[in-house]
């Protein structure tokens, strides 16, 4: 992401997006989940009944992302095996696109299913379901491995990366801001989308997980730790990636700006090439790299699945085992689309729409819902207990009560800046980026794909999710 958006220039909008949208929305989701103590659809429905649809829509966006995320993890399982004898050979690009994916010429040329990818997909779903078998009880134990293992591997890869010749050139590209790129709205859109995606905000996940927190848990501090630690990991990851890209550029004699393309190319073409070039223990570094991707990916996938499962169990009182297995089967079947020869095209289109439209819409509407409609029965109790606090009497200031609730549970407090971010700054900034991007899409389809492919992989998926969200909202829950 950083590479595709002007290298070091990307870090500026990324930090701005983190501070103006990432952390404020993270605090919002933590506070709301902790306050209402129910999963996302029910917590948002508590703000105002109709907003339950938004909660279901957010979870469906997570479901959509899971369907292709699991396929990428399936690729990682395969590449973990390929790492043992560096099976990708000298021409890693041809190996990935022609031998492994057997990619077709366009999205409409579906082609056959690639069974090795299906095997990887099945393995991924087995791991995900095992991780959430008993809900947060097993998740709490599994994350000790899926968080610590990738961090240890990441540190090893950073040390290996920065000790390679040419690493400094890569780091220079990573950290030097190109201020001209800041004038491009796409860089800002990418930064906001990336913050939403990497923090898993706008998915309903954080609301659901916060609902599991003990009543004494520190809301604001936890929100800050999660946001900053996540982005610190991404920042550190940049050192591993760009130092090795510098090494690659050094070995090939090309400038860093020309050694890689964005997207899966980096992980499945460029990185294997660099791994093959390593002077010693190439296989071990290959295994470590793909093991890191796998643990990180599975970690993200089961957080999304658990949020959806917890919401369905809460509303419809179904058995966890049925929900988990049902989720895996449906998502696995949908995921088969991405295991075909045209799978990479569909993955690209769906990914773009989920991140740039789905998540941003949820983020904007969620700020709007909580900023202007949030109300809680405890407001009346609060007024009785704090008769001199006049801010609570203005209707738009109902969010003040949520802020005060968060502060009452936290070691350090948030001020009116948070209200301002939730009510004005975040929705306006994200809204402008969203509308600009919509106008761009009206002018030309995404990525040079045909209008028909864009409709099927993008707009139609969004429409289906809205319809399913409304159906889930209207369907009566079990008592």
């Amino acid at each position: 992401m950083c590479y595709a958006n002007g290298g070091g220039a990307f870090l500026i909008p990324y930090f701005v997006a983190l501070l103006t949208a990432g952390i404020p929305i993270m605090i919002l989701e933590f506070s709301l989940g902790h306050r209402i103590s129910r999963p996302a659809p029910m917590a948002l429905g508590n703000v105002k009944k109709g907003f339950e649809i938004l909660g279901w829509f957010a979870l469906l966006i997570g479901f959509g992302i899971c369907t292709y995320y699991a396929v990428v993890m399936g690729w990682c399982f395969n590449y973990l095996g390929f790492s043992v004898n560096l099976a990708w050979g000298q021409n890693t690009e041809s190996f990935f696109f022609n031998q492994f994916l057997k990619i077709s010429d366009s999205p409409m040329q579906i082609g056959g299913i690639q069974w090795m990818i299906v095997l990887g997909l099945a393995l991924t779903w087995v791991c995900v379901i095992a991780a959430i078998w008993k809900g947060v009880k097993t998740v709490g134990k599994v994350v000790y491995f899926t968080v610590i293992i990738p961090w240890v591997i990441l540190i090893v890869l950073v040390i290996r990366g920065i000790t390679l010749p040419g690493a400094l050139e890569g780091l220079r590209f990573y950290l030097t801001p190109q201020f001209s790129a800041l004038l491009d709205y796409k860089v800002w859109l990418a930064a906001y989308s990336q913050v939403f995606f990497s923090l898993t905000i706008g998915f309903g996940v954080q609301i659901t997980y916060a609902s599991f927190l003990p009543k004494k848990a520190d809301v604001v501090n936890n929100a800050f730790i999660v946001s900053l630690a996540n982005n610190a990991t991404s920042f550190l990851g940049g050192f591993a990636v760009f130092s090795t890209l510098g090494y690659y550029a050094h070995q090939t004699g090309l400038p860093v700006s020309e050694v890689v393309k964005s997207g899966p190319h980096l992980a499945f073409v460029t990185y294997p090439t660099i791994i093959s070039m390593l002077p010693f223990a190439a296989s071990i570094f290959g295994i470590l790299f793909f093991l890191m991707l796998l643990t990180l990916g599975i970690d993200s996938a089961f957080s999304l699945v658990e949020a959806g499962a917890a919401s369905i169990i809460d509303k419809f009182k179904l058995k966890r085992i049925h929900v988990n297995i049902g989720f895996a089967i449906i998502a696995g079947l949908v995921g088969l689309v991405y295991t075909t020869q045209s799978g990479l095209y569909w993955l690209d289109i769906v990914d773009y729409f989920m991140n740039n439209y789905g998540l941003l819409v949820v983020g904007i509407v969620q700020c709007f819902a909580v900023g202007y409609f949030y109300s809680h029965k405890d407001i009346h109790d609060y007024v009785k207990r704090h008769p001199h606090d006049r801010s609570i009497f203005s209707i738009p200031a109902k969010i003040v009560e949520l802020r005060k609730y968060a502060n009452s549970k936290s070691d350090f407090t948030i001020g009116v800046w948070w209200d301002f971010c939730v009510k004005y700054l975040t929705p306006v900034v994200v809204g402008i980026l969203f509308l600009t991007n919509i106008i761009e899409r009206v002018k030309s389809p995404y990525g040079g794909y045909s209008r028909w492919a864009e409709f099927l992989g993008g707009w139609l998926v969004i429409i289906v999710f809205v319809v399913v969200a409304v159906i889930l909202y209207r369907k009566k829950g079990s008592k």
Binding site: L11, T176, D218, N221, L228, N231, A232
Partner: protein, 42 residues
Amino acid sequence: MPISAWIMLAVGVIILFGGVVLCLFKMRRKKDRGYTEDTRSS
């Protein structure tokens, strides 16, 4: 590396890693305080 790159590095480290350390430090202090209070109440 140019000076702007070093500034970006410093900003990233201070905001992200410094922020995490500060929050963990605060949480730890709170835990210690809570533990002391519990001991007193018992």
